[in-house]
Symmetry: C2
Subunit: 388 residues, 2 copies
């Protein structure tokens, strides 16, 4: 099996770009990734691309060939859609293609434009990732769904809105120096608690923002990296995917996300690592409570123990396991189709030492990314390592 | 490399199902495929699923986990979107997963609901597969785009509306005995010529209909088929994918589809076959002229020679290379996300001898499927063979 290296990474700054098209955003990220990699465009064999709501937000489907063209490539392209895990899945399939020997050089990434919709429109578009028949028609959108999960969590394990506010404050603090973050500003716990309610017990600062942006990575085989003498110190050593019932009503648990556990178990086995070996992680905190359930599902905390992690300072600077040093979806932003790729970009930067927060984890050699779709009806986990 | 067998196939009849949901349609096809395969649901490791316009037509994205659940599976699932080639791409990636040894048993398929939109709505939804910025805003929808291609073809190579009408009449004739076809009725050349104009030179009977439907296949490794003693005589021996510029204006040719040529060359090389060894083919005839360009791009005819093939009787019963014995998209119907999978289902039935038209090609051992996205900005080709 061929090993997989991250040869280059690129991002747009996450934010609001009313004057730019999706292809323009993706081209910026793709060009940055290619330049970072030092790989000529002709050698890229395939694009694996993630997008969620292009058909709604830009009336643009069939984005595979469109984005290949925007990135200056003449190779074929494939679009993956797995709700908010779209580019996580795209990256996973690229890892498998390179491992199998089929490909040596691939471009991977994603893009989403959301701010051209108003808040109601974006909420409606996001709800397309829930079960239309049994959830959406009953009035559920994602803030409501995650509020149900938070309530179930509090009821079963305890915890409070204040615990969640610590997650928000932590991730905003992490984003301050991240030049790609939508919100490079701190908020304190009081400010999070006092923000307006969205769906009880979740308030505005429990939710990630609506965001435009793009992410891209050049992935190559070990062999190609060696032949071309590329500076590609970070390897993707584990990949896993899990699924669950789509609608919350059909789940065994509301306060746990077993799809993430399945994905993590597969990724750990694949990498030959365990959760105790992970030194830094980017997890899918579309809502603060999602980070709590993620760090439990990934095996970092027992069920019921994750809720206090941010409050206790364990998942921030100086803690044992810094989570979302990029700022997370919460503060960095969540352009849905770009997010999975963005997590891999941030983890690569953290591990190779050129992230503004790299000094927080200067000795770290093993990181993890966790990208989830919907209310974690799908999840993708990757393990990244500094190659020996 | 592990070989890939088709262990079972399933379809809904293509048509109009105002009272049924997408999940219901896919479940029917998936159940049929599982029963045909005789593979227990627990052994299916992953679903690769194609859908194009679910976000529009049913306000339902994230269909991967939803359709896995509908099919009674608890494995993860991935949705592929490549416009009208969505399930072709899904199948191709499944073939690669099994070959690489990663998986032994996969469900593959697709679904589309379109008739719940009116004709204008469906045309608008389909246009999401074109370039929104440079084609759709200029007023182009797919009938117009293919009309431009037909005009360019006539201008460069000659040919007439009557030649195209022969394609329509042929495919309708093929569909008469196909119990899954939307239109099991013959039309004659005069009727096609007299049908109302849609976009000159294309008339109504040059276009495929708007269709609901689903397709599914169980794909397994040779090894698994042997171990379980499955009756799976048809193998997928070649797969290829090609891409092109999205917008017609950026193409070198309007009257050729080089993405299909690239896909075919890759699939031929992969299977160790050439175009002269193909004995039967299902090609993407969303419009009659698309079949003409397909049989040229696939290497069956020189450019300019494909236009007369149906008129000369070469691509029908008694001809050298029967094309679209299922009825094709034209008469069998074109539920976009299901079409690539449906072509593989039909080819499997033709080769293993249980298709109503199998007697037309009773000695055939090698077949091809060609699935295209948009104006062939993407194309997927598979070679199928009766295993020795």
């Amino acid at each position: 099996m061929n090993g997989v290296r991250v040869a280059g990474v690129g991002l747009t700054r996450f934010g609001s770009y009313p004057g730019r098209t999706g292809r323009d955003l993706f081209a910026e990220a793709a060009l940055a990734a290619r330049e970072d990699a030092g790989v000529p465009r002709e050698e890229i064999e395939h694009l694996n691309y993630g997008n969620f709501m292009g058909a709604f937000a830009e009336r643009q489907g069939h984005q595979g060939p469109l984005m290949a063209e925007a990135a200056g490539l003449s190779c074929p392209a494939t679009r993956y859609e797995e709700a908010c895990a779209s580019s996580g899945v795209a990256a996973r399939e690229a890892v498998k293609s390179i491992r199998s020997g089929e490909r040596d050089v691939m471009l991977v990434g994603g893009m989403e434009r959301m701010t051209n919709l108003d808040t109601a429109g974006a909420t409606e578009a996001l709800a397309v990732a829930a079960d239309e028949l049994y959830e959406v028609r009953a009035g559920i959108t994602f803030p409501g769904a995650y509020a149900l999960m938070a309530r179930a969590y509090f009821e079963r394990y305890g915890g409070s809105r204040e615990d969640l506010a610590h997650v928000a404050a932590k991730n905003h603090r992490h984003a301050v120096d991240n030049e790609y973050a939508q919100y490079q500003r701190e908020i304190d716990v009081e400010e999070a608690l006092d923000s307006p309610p969205v769906a009880d017990p979740l308030h505005l600062f429990d939710a990630c923002p609506i965001t435009d942006g793009a992410s891209a990575l050049v992935l190559v085989s070990d062999e190609y990296a060696e032949e071309r003498d590329l500076d590609a110190p970070v390897a993707i050593t584990g990949t896993g995917q899990g699924g669950d019932k789509m609608a919350l009503q059909d789940r065994e648990y509301l306060a746990r996300t077993p799809a993430a556990t399945k994905a993590a178990e597969e990724a750990y086995a694949d990498a030959g690592r365990g959760p105790d070996e992970i030194e830094v992680a980017e997890v899918h905190d579309c809502f603060t409570v999602a980070e709590v359930m993620a760090i439990e599902s990934l095996g970092f905390y027992e069920p019921g123990e994750g809720i206090g992690a941010a409050r206790r300072g364990e998942t921030t600077v100086g803690g044992d396991l810094p989570i979302n040093l990029s700022g997370g979806l919460k503060a960095k932003g969540h352009p849905v189709g770009a997010t999975g790729g963005s997590q891999l970009v941030e983890m690569t930067r953290l591990l190779r030492g050129d992230h503004p927060n790299s000094d927080v984890v200067s000795d770290a050699r093993v990181g993890l990314t966790h990208n989830a779709g919907g209310t974690v009806a799908s999840a993708v986990v990757h393990v990244l390592e500094v190659a020996a």
